[in-house]
C-alpha cells in the first residue's frame, strides 16, 4: 500500500518499479480503494458495518485522549428501511459517532473526509489510525452501496461556530464534492465532531462483533464514557471509571534504523539541511553530531555533501547504500520510547475488573524495546476467577495502540506466544477462568494486512510478549498457590472439625465412671469441643500468618456449630 501515493509523484520512482506504477496512473487513489475494499476491511456488509464503527470510534478517541480530553463518545447505528432494498440482507444503516474531541477546523474539513491522501508530514507518532485512510474508505463504501453523502458537524475548541458539510468523494478526481454546507453559532460549550455515514450493512451478523469491539474498547479506555445505541433500540452504557488519562503520545523524528529509501528521499526533499551531516542530526532522532560523523566516516561519505544531490539519478546507488548502512550501523542510540503512550497497569486492571469481575487481576507495562528502529512497549493484563467462566483456553484480548483487534486471532503473534505457554507451570489446568490482555504500543505496529487485525511475528515483539505473559503469570501462580494452601488448610480443618461433636459426645459418655453413671451434660460436651477446636487450631499448619490461629478457631467453631446429626 505504501506504493499507492507514490503514483502521484512518479517522477522520482526507480525504473524497476516504474512498470508497476504505470498501471495505477490511470486510476485515482480513491478509485483504487473503491475497487479493493477488502484491503481496508470492507469485504462484505458485515465487515463494512463493523469497520465503519471502528474507524469512527478510533478517530474520536484520537481526537480526545491524545489531547488530554476525557472522551465522551456516543455511537448510534440507525436502521434506514427507506433506503433498503426488498432483499433483507441488503439493509442500509447510518452509523453516527459523536465525540467531545478537538474538532476539525472548517478549512480542512472537506479534505479530511473527502480526499484520500497520506499525511505529508514525516514525523511519526503512536496513533490509532495508521494510514489516515480508514474513514475515507468508509465514505467510499457508503456512497457506493447507499448513495448517501457523508455528513459531518464539527466545532473546534476556540471557535464560536459549528460547521456542517455533506459531501461525496469524487472518485475520478479524488476530491471532495460538497452537496451542502452550513455554519451556525455554537450553542453551549460543545466542541467535537459528529460524523454520519450511511452504508449497506448486515447488523444481524455484525452485532456481536461490534458489541465485542465496544466492550473491549471500554476495557482499554476506562477513562472514556461510551454510549452505544443499536438499531434494535438497545442502549449500552459504559460509564467512566477514572479521570486518569494515559500519557499522550508525542511526535518524534524517525530513527535511522527504521528508515527506507522512499522515506529518506522525502526527508531529503523537505529538509532545509545544507549538508548530509546536518541532515542526519536535524531530521533523525538518536543522532548527535559525533555519531553522525562517525557513521559517515565509516561508510566513507563526505559529511559536507549537499543532500539534494543524492536525489539525482546517478546517485541512486549511493543513496541506497547509505540507507542500508544506516539500518546496520550500531553506533546510534536505541530509539526513544518516551513519546509512546502505554496505558499503564492501573488502567488495564480497572478495565479488566469492570468487564470480568475477576477475583484476581494484575498487569504489567514492560520496559520499551525496539524493532527496526521502531520503539514499542508491550503491556500484559491478566484476570483470573471470579465471574469469568472456565474456558478450554485463555480468552485473549489483543490491542494495538489501544485498538481492540478482533479478527484473525489465530494469525496473531500474541496467539502464537500464548499457545506456547505451559500453563501447568503456573498451576493452571484448563478449563480455567483466565483472560489475557496483550497491548502493543508502537510508532509502527507491524500489522499483517491493511485490515489491521493481526500483528506479524517480529522476534523482538514475540520475546517481549512472552516475557510479559510470564511475568504476570508468575504472580498468578503465587496467588493460586497461596489460595491452594488456604484451601488445603480449610479442607484439613473441615475434615477434623466435622467429627468434633460426635467425638465429644462419645468421650463425655465414656468419661462417666460406671459406678456413678449419668448422662453427661451439654456443658461437659461443650468443654471437650472447645478443647478439641483449640487443639486443631494449634496443630494444623495454616497458610496465613500470626492471625492464622484465631481465624482457624473461628472456622472450626462455625463448622462445629453447623454440624448436627440425624
Amino acid at each position: 500500500m505504501d506504493k499507492v501515493p507514490a503514483t502521484k509523484s512518479a517522477k522520482q520512482t526507480s525504473s524497476k518499479e516504474k512498470s508497476n506504477k504505470e498501471k495505477f496512473r490511470e486510476i485515482s487513489v480513491a478509485e483504487f480503494f473503491a475497487k479493493n475494499k477488502e484491503l481496508a476491511g470492507f469485504a462484505n456488509p458485515t465487515r463494512a458495518l463493523y469497520q465503519t464503527v471502528r474507524e469512527l470510534v478510533e478517530n474520536s478517541l484520537d481526537a480526545t485522549d491524545t489531547h488530554l480530553i476525557l472522551p465522551e463518545i456516543v455511537i448510534r447505528i440507525v436502521n434506514r428501511p427507506e433506503l433498503s432494498g426488498s432483499n433483507g440482507s441488503e439493509q442500509r444503516f447510518t452509523v453516527i459517532v459523536e465525540d467531545n474531541g478537538i474538532g476539525v477546523p472548517p478549512t480542512v474539513m472537506a479534505n479530511a473526509f473527502g480526499r484520500v491522501l497520506f499525511s505529508s508530514k514525516y514525523v511519526i507518532r503512536q496513533t490509532r489510525g495508521m494510514y489516515g485512510l480508514g474513514v475515507k474508505a468508509a465514505v467510499l463504501y457508503g456512497q457506493a452501496t447507499a448513495g448517501q453523502p457523508l455528513k459531518v458537524v464539527s466545532a473546534t475548541k476556540g471557535s464560536s461556530y459549528s460547521y456542517m458539510k455533506e459531501l461525496f468523494i469524487d472518485m475520478k478526481k479524488n476530491e471532495p464534492r460538497i452537496v451542502s454546507e452550513g455554519q451556525w453559532r455554537r450553542r453551549g460549550s460543545w466542541h467535537g465532531t459528529r460524523v454520519a455515514i450511511t452504508l449497506m450493512g448486515d447488523w444481524r451478523r455484525a452485532k456481536n462483533r461490534i458489541l465485542e469491539y465496544i466492550k473491549r474498547t471500554a476495557i482499554i479506555a476506562p477513562y472514556a464514557e461510551i454510549i452505544f445505541e443499536t438499531p434494535d433500540g438497545e442502549i449500552y452504557y459504559f460509564p467512566r471509571l477514572t479521570r486518569k488519562l494515559p500519557r499522550p503520545p508525542r511526535e518524534a523524528k524517525p530513527h535511522p534504523h527504521g528508515i527506507d529509501l522512499e522515506h529518506f528521499k522525502i526527508i531529503i526533499k523537505e529538509s532545509k539541511a545544507k549538508t548530509l551531516l546536518e541532515l542526519l542530526v536535524q531530521e533523525f532522532q538518536s543522532v548527535g553530531e559525533k555519531t553522525a560523523r562517525a557513521f559517515l566516516k565509516k561508510i566513507g561519505v563526505n559529511p559536507n555533501l549537499n543532500p539534494k544531490k543524492l536525489l539525482r539519478k546517478e546517485n541512486e546507488e549511493l543513496l541506497r547504500s547509505i540507507v542500508d548502512e544506516m539500518k546496520k550501523f550500531e553506533g546510534f542510540k536505541p530509539p526513544r520510547s518516551d513519546y509512546l503512550s502505554p496505558l499503564g497497569e492501573d488502567l488495564i486492571k480497572l478495565g479488566l475488573k469492570r468487564l470480568f469481575e475477576p477475583e484476581w487481576v494484575e498487569a504489567v507495562t514492560r520496559p520499551p524495546r525496539a524493532f527496526e528502529g521502531n520503539p514499542f512497549i508491550v503491556e500484559i493484563g491478566m484476570a483470573y476467577g471470579g465471574k469469568i467462566p472456565p474456558m478450554n483456553e485463555p480468552l485473549l484480548l489483543r490491542y494495538a495502540n489501544k485498538i481492540p483487534l478482533l479478527y484473525e486471532e489465530k494469525e496473531d503473534i500474541s496467539w502464537k506466544v500464548l499457545s506456547s505457554i505451559n500453563w501447568k507451570l503456573y498451576l493452571i489446568n484448563f478449563p480455567a477462568p483466565l483472560v489475557v490482555l496483550v497491548h502493543i504500543a508502537s510508532t509502527k505496529v507491524p500489522y499483517k494486512g491493511v485490515g489491521k487485525e493481526s500483528i506479524s511475528e517480529i522476534p523482538e515483539l514475540e520475546q517481549e510478549i512472552k516475557n510479559g505473559i510470564q511475568e504476570v503469570a508468575r504472580r498468578l501462580r503465587a496467588y493460586i498457590s497461596r489460595k491452594m494452601k488456604e484451601a488445603e488448610t480449610l479442607r484439613r480443618i473441615t475434615t477434623l472439625a466435622k467429627y468434633i461433636p460426635e467425638i465429644a459426645r462419645s468421650l463425655a459418655i465414656l468419661s462417666k465412671p460406671p459406678e456413678k453413671w449419668s448422662l453427661p451434660s451439654p456443658d461437659e460436651e461443650k468443654l471437650i469441643m472447645d478443647k478439641m477446636a483449640e487443639l486443631i487450631a494449634t496443630r494444623v499448619p495454616t497458610a496465613r500468618g500470626s492471625d492464622g490461629k484465631t481465624q482457624t478457631i473461628k472456622a472450626i467453631r462455625s463448622i462445629v456449630e453447623s454440624a448436627r446429626t440425624e
Binding site: 467429627y499 460426635e502 459426645r505 465414656l510 453413671w517 483449640e534
Partner: protein, 387 residues
C-alpha cells in the same frame, strides 16, 4: 432392660468390661484436656502382623501397633468411629442391654450434616456398611483386650451342638442329649455356660449343617459317645470358643470333618490355630490339638499302601473339577506356616496335581451308613488324621 434380674455371672462380666472401657478411654479425654494430640495405640490386625506361635500351635498378633491419631487426616474418621462405638458399647453395658453387632451398627449410624468453609451443606455417615462398624468393634477388642463376648455383644447364633452333655445357661439346665431332631444353638456368650455333666469320648465338628443333621438322625453321637457340633461353614467365634472349652476343660479330643478342598482345609485351620482376621482372640478360641479327620485327598486317591475309600467309578461320579479360585487358594495355603507339616504339604500337592475336590455329601451319597459307621469310626480308630 434394666430392672430385670440378671444372672450374677452376667453382672460380673458387665462390671469388668465397663471398667476397662472407662479406664482406657478416659486417658484419651485427659490428653485432649491437657492439650495433647489424642491417639489410640492399636495392635495391627494384618497378615504381616499375624504370627504362628509354633509352641502353642496358634495364631497370635505380633508386636506391631498402629497409632490412630485424631489429627491425622487419614485416621480422623476411624478415630471418631472407634470412640463412637466404644461409647455405645459402654452405655449398653451399664444399662444392662445385650446389643447384637447389628444393633451396634444401627445405633451408631448417624448422618453428620455440616457446612464446609464455602458454606455448602455436606453430609457424611458415621459409617455406611456393617462391615465398617464390625471392623471398628474388632479394633476396640484389640485396643481394650476385651472380646466382644466379654462386652456382652451378641451375634447371630450359627453353631449347633448335640451329645451327652448337660449345661447351665442363664440359670437353666439343658440336657443336650434331649434335643429331639433339633439341636442346641451355641449362644453368643459361651463363657457364661457351665458344664455340669457329660458322658462323651470325643468331639466331632462337621463343617456342614446338612451332614450334621444326617449324623444326628442316624444316631451317630449316641453310638460313639460323641459330642456332635457344626459351625455351619465358616465357624463363628462362639462355636470356636465352645469347642475350645470342651477340649480344654473336659479334655475331649476334637476331630474335624470338612469338604476336601482348600476352603474346607482352611476352616479346619480356623478351629485349630485361629483366623488371620481374628488372630488376637486365638488364645481363647483356637484348639491347637484339633485333628483333621477328613475328607483328605489320600482318602479319595489313596497314598502308598493306603487304599482309597472311593472306587474308580465313585471317583468319576463324585469328584468335582477344581476352579481357578480353588487353585489360587491352595497355593496361598501352601505358604502359610501352619500348613507346612508334611501331611498338609502332601494334601495340597495332591490337590494341585489332581485339580479335583470332593464335598462331604458325596460320602453320604455313597451311603450314610458308610459315612457314619465305617468311614468316621475307622479313621478315628486307625489314627488316620492330619494335624
Amino acid at each position: 432392660m434394666s430392672g430385670i434380674p440378671l444372672d450374677k455371672v452376667d453382672l460380673e462380666a458387665r462390671k469388668r468390661a465397663a471398667k476397662i472401657l472407662h479406664e482406657k478411654f478416659r486417658k484419651i479425654l485427659e490428653d485432649i484436656l491437657s492439650g495433647k494430640a489424642p491417639k489410640l495405640e492399636i495392635p495391627k490386625r494384618t497378615l504381616a502382623n499375624t504370627i504362628f506361635d509354633k509352641e502353642r500351635g496358634i495364631l497370635v498378633l505380633g508386636e506391631q501397633k498402629l497409632e490412630r491419631e485424631f489429627l491425622d487426616m487419614g485416621e480422623a474418621r476411624r478415630f471418631m468411629q472407634t470412640l463412637l462405638m466404644a461409647s455405645i458399647i459402654y452405655q449398653a453395658l451399664i444399662e444392662n442391654e445385650y446389643p447384637t453387632i447389628r444393633d451396634l451398627y444401627y445405633r451408631g449410624k448417624h448422618t453428620i450434616i455440616y457446612k464446609d468453609p464455602s458454606g455448602r451443606t455436606r453430609q457424611e455417615n458415621t459409617w455406611d456398611e456393617q462391615a465398617e462398624s464390625d471392623s471398628v468393634i474388632r479394633d476396640i477388642e484389640v485396643f481394650t483386650g476385651l472380646l466382644r463376648e466379654d462386652m456382652l455383644i451378641l451375634s447371630k447364633e450359627k453353631g449347633k451342638v448335640v451329645g451327652n452333655l448337660k449345661i447351665r445357661s442363664g440359670g437353666d439346665v439343658i440336657d443336650l442329649s434331649k434335643m429331639g431332631h433339633g439341636a442346641y444353638s451355641i449362644e453368643s456368650t459361651p463363657d457364661l455356660i457351665d458344664f455340669i455333666d457329660w458322658d462323651a469320648e470325643f468331639v466331632l465338628v462337621v463343617e456342614k449343617d446338612a451332614v450334621f443333621q444326617q449324623l444326628h438322625r442316624v444316631g451317630f453321637w449316641r453310638k460313639y459317645k460323641a459330642i456332635l457340633i457344626t459351625g455351619a461353614g465358616q465357624p463363628d467365634r462362639a462355636t470356636r470358643r465352645f469347642v475350645r472349652r470342651l477340649n480344654e476343660e473336659l479334655k475331649l479330643p476334637v476331630y474335624i470333618l470338612t469338604d476336601s478342598d482348600p476352603y474346607g482345609f482352611y476352616i479346619y485351620s480356623v478351629y485349630k490355630v485361629g483366623s488371620i482376621q481374628l488372630s488376637y482372640e486365638s488364645e481363647r478360641l483356637a484348639t491347637p490339638s484339633a485333628k483333621f479327620l477328613g475328607v483328605s485327598m489320600t482318602d479319595i486317591f489313596g497314598w502308598g499302601r493306603k487304599k482309597p475309600y472311593l472306587t474308580e467309578t465313585e471317583r468319576r461320579n463324585y469328584i468335582i473339577k477344581a476352579t481357578d479360585a480353588d487353585i489360587k487358594r491352595a497355593k496361598e495355603l501352601m505358604k502359610y506356616s501352619w500348613f507346612r507339616s508334611p501331611g498338609w504339604q502332601r494334601e495340597l500337592k495332591i490337590f494341585l496335581e489332581k485339580k479335583a475336590k470332593l464335598e462331604i455329601e458325596a460320602l453320604a451319597s455313597k451311603g450314610l451308613k458308610f459315612l457314619a459307621f465305617k468311614y468316621i469310626p475307622e479313621k478315628i480308630e486307625t489314627g488316620d488324621w492330619i494335624e
